[in-house]
Subunit: 468 residues, 2 copies
């Protein structure tokens, strides 16, 4: 199905709902709003609509049900799993025009926003109120809250603050059936039956569309200190984490390999933090509003040096230096993007990480002997990003074909360790063929049955996550 | 249906599953395991079974499906909403014999347990590992984790640590259909589709039975300090909370009225903390591992005195005194239990609490002019416990009849403020007639449809939460 196949009646009805100037059907717009950040799929959207209210979204969903047309909800389109690609002539509902902060509740440290608010916009708004929205990641400048919720976004502060789910106190959604549901209404405590909002969090837009959000904010962190440490081998990473974590509440514990560091340095925007070169690096962060905390951290650092777990390190001396150290980790994705990376986003229990890494490493060594491999990730949450870089002389097609084969080996190991094939990127289309490595056949059957409850005509983001 | 109506075939089959000595059908046992802490219902259980494994639970559920017999899951039976009352000849599945800690994952600060583990047992186990399980409440000594999960239990530390839901990393459940599902497997990050475990948390045993749990632990709190403050009027309670919370991470912020204090003092086990008598009291708690934190708290306390928000106060000087101050709040339920209290457990946004309390207060004054009213609750979460005490000269029947009438007025106000008719006690049977005050008709329809997905024969805890 494509734009010209969508009947003029439907287009007229859409115009009636959102207004003539809130509809786009030109080729560039269909291309632009028809996809997310995933490179593998060519979008085929029929029309892009930009509603401005929950009621308009409801009217579109009812219209789509009536005419049997599918819908793809669209946020900041920074997704990495093809979850927001309109692939089969869908109506794309963009939340771009629903980007308002609606209400602020200081006593609750809570804000009610439209789902099209950009993550960074929420972070800035919180800061203006003297508060803090702690979910943060590289694409925060363009991703929208609706998309964060649809994939239960994680990022770099999960070890202290948890996933997006942890901050959601209420959702207004339009179900696939076209019902407006106000779920949980911002309450901390509400034991009145099934927590329906938790289905929409991580639901990838397959059950309905989130239009408004009640979201919790936190107090601002105080006097953040950042360490970057040079680590001689992976076996030392976990003891370092435990040494710090047993004494200090960490706000982040990230790791990356030397190749990742090298790519960031090659990118030319950040300086090397110290001369020592090591196979691995750790970045950790904590609040240190009291002097004894800094002393304690220095003692642990020295202990790690004595044990041989750390060969060199630097502690931030200012906010600017802390931010610059963070870029060593945060700029990795951008620095490698020119190398057409094949991304894996996997997780296991922290206890299993060492054995898991060893097995994955041997698969990588065996199957990608000539490929550059960037390892980085949120090791404090058991979440690893494995990025295979395409050799210059290999075609995209051959490269991805090779990666797909190795994928299955990787996911067999994930399955063996009871892990997740997608820790924070979602399933979408890219991980759908592998879903059974993380969810049992029975779970998938229950998911399909739940989908039918909220979306009986199967019009919401079809083909994402599930086969219909 | 009653014991003698359950066919001998079913009883024999149950014996085959769990063993002869793991079945009780005597009158005392049927009475004891057939109900929870709710006083209003007479239990009518057919048989009590004590399985020892997930597989045995599955076999029982399959048997019950085959014979069309209903099941009531039973934990520590401390519930206050009739959610664990076997009312219609159900097979009661008691988790009493599934009380083992199965595995401990130090690197993950996580423990895998059977669902019959008692809350206090988990707290003690955590302490032995140098860790902390923070969900705590008066009945922690007998409530089981399975029941905590079924009602998403809250308690006295929610302001910092959140509800039970916040600590659950994985559940093994037997669905109403008889499928064993291992949900989320202990992972922090897992974006592979609908978060099914969140439906079972707060599901009140109507979708299936939780048999095993992966549960997160926290580091132990350090140097907890407790303040109890005398407050001249309710209007001062919220400013006190904001004054402290803006500067210090509180681990608790509780309030209670003078009658509640009086009942605890009359109970004779705790001493008055200071001479000043006031209409309200606040108990707050925070970690103070660094001296400046205590200084800061004292400054805030003095500021509150200067503002007239606080008339008197005491700060704990030792762990013993902290525990003794806590009993002023924690002993309320026990101290008033002889007065046949009619309990309400309601919540609203914190921002709405002052107006909400004013409206509820006028309903209480108008309708219960001669009744004693205990107010207490977790004001830092917007959660209020309103307890009406029965006058000695009124029959139980007349008292409850009167309370039921006033209930509707109270719940209309709850509804007006977009609040919850059950913040942490669940719906069960006592709140079921009022569910529509907190959940829309459409939400309830979706809940019913979800119930049918997991429990198509409607055998799991029928009549609780929903009408079937």
């Amino acid at each position: 199905m494509n734009s010209f196949l969508l009947s003029p009646d439907v287009l007229d009805a859409l115009k009636n709902i959102v207004g003539e100037n809130r509809i786009k059907t030109d080729v560039d717009s269909l291309e632009n709003w028809g996809k997310d950040h995933t490179k593998y799929f060519s979008p085929h959207a029929s029309v892009i609509v930009f509603p401005s209210s929950t009621e308009q979204v409801q009217a579109i969903v009812k219209l789509a049900n009536y005419h049997g047309v599918a819908i793809t909800p669209s946020g900041g389109r920074t997704g990495l799993s093809g979850g927001a690609v309109a692939y089969h002539g869908e109506i794309v509902i963009s939340l771009d025009k629903m980007n308002q902060v609606l209400d602020f509740f200081p006593a609750d440290r809570m804000v009610r926003i439209q789902a099209g608010v950009v993550t960074q916009q929420l972070q800035d708004y919180a800061q203006e109120q003297g508060l803090y929205y702690p979910v943060d990641f590289a694409s925060a400048g363009s991703s929208q809250l609706g998309g964060n919720i649809a994939t239960n976004a994680g990022g770099i502060k999960v070890i202290k603050y948890g996933m997006t789910r942890n901050w959601i106190l209420g959702l207004t959604v339009v179900s696939g059936k076209g019902d407006i549901l106000r779920l949980n209404k911002g309450m901390i405590k509400n034991a009145t039956g099934y927590a329906l909002h938790h289905l929409f969090i991580g639901g990838e837009g397959t059950l309905g569309i989130v239009t408004e959000v009640e979201i919790r904010l936190d107090r601002q962190p105080q006097d953040l200190q950042v360490f970057v440490l040079a680590v001689p081998d992976f076996e030392s990473v976990m003891p370092i984490m435990h040494a710090f974590r047993n004494e200090i509440d960490l706000t982040a514990f990230e790791f990356f390999n030397d190749l990742a560091m090298q790519k960031v340095l090659d990118h030319g925007l950040v300086a090397r933090p110290f001369e020592t070169s090591c196979p691995f690096y750790v970045l950790l962060e904590f609040e240190a509003p009291y002097e004894p905390l800094v002393d304690k951290a220095m003692q642990i650092f020295e202990h790690c040096m004595e044990q041989g777990w750390v060969l060199d390190g630097v502690m931030s001396q200012s906010l600017e230096q802390a931010q610059s150290l963070w870029r060593l980790r945060e700029d990795i994705s951008e620095s490698i993007s020119a190398f057409t990376p094949y991304k894996n986003d996997i997780s296991v229990l922290i206890s299993y990480v060492p054995d898991f890494i060893a097995e994955i490493d041997s698969i990588v060594a065996e199957n990608y002997p000539d490929f550059e491999t960037c390892w980085f990730g949120h090791i404090g949450d058991g979440n690893l990003h494995l990025n295979i870089l395409k050799p210059e002389n290999l075609s995209n097609q051959d490269f991805f074909a090779k990666c797909e084969i190795v994928n299955s080996y990787v996911f067999e190991v994930v399955n063996k360790f009871d892990g997740s094939i997608s820790a924070e990127h979602g399933v979408g289309m890219t991980k759908k063929p592998y879903l059974e490595f993380s969810r049992s056949e029975q779970e998938i059957e229950y998911m399909k049955a739940l989908k039918k409850v909220f979306d009986p005509n199967l019009i919401m983001n079809p083909g994402k996550l599930l086969d219909f």
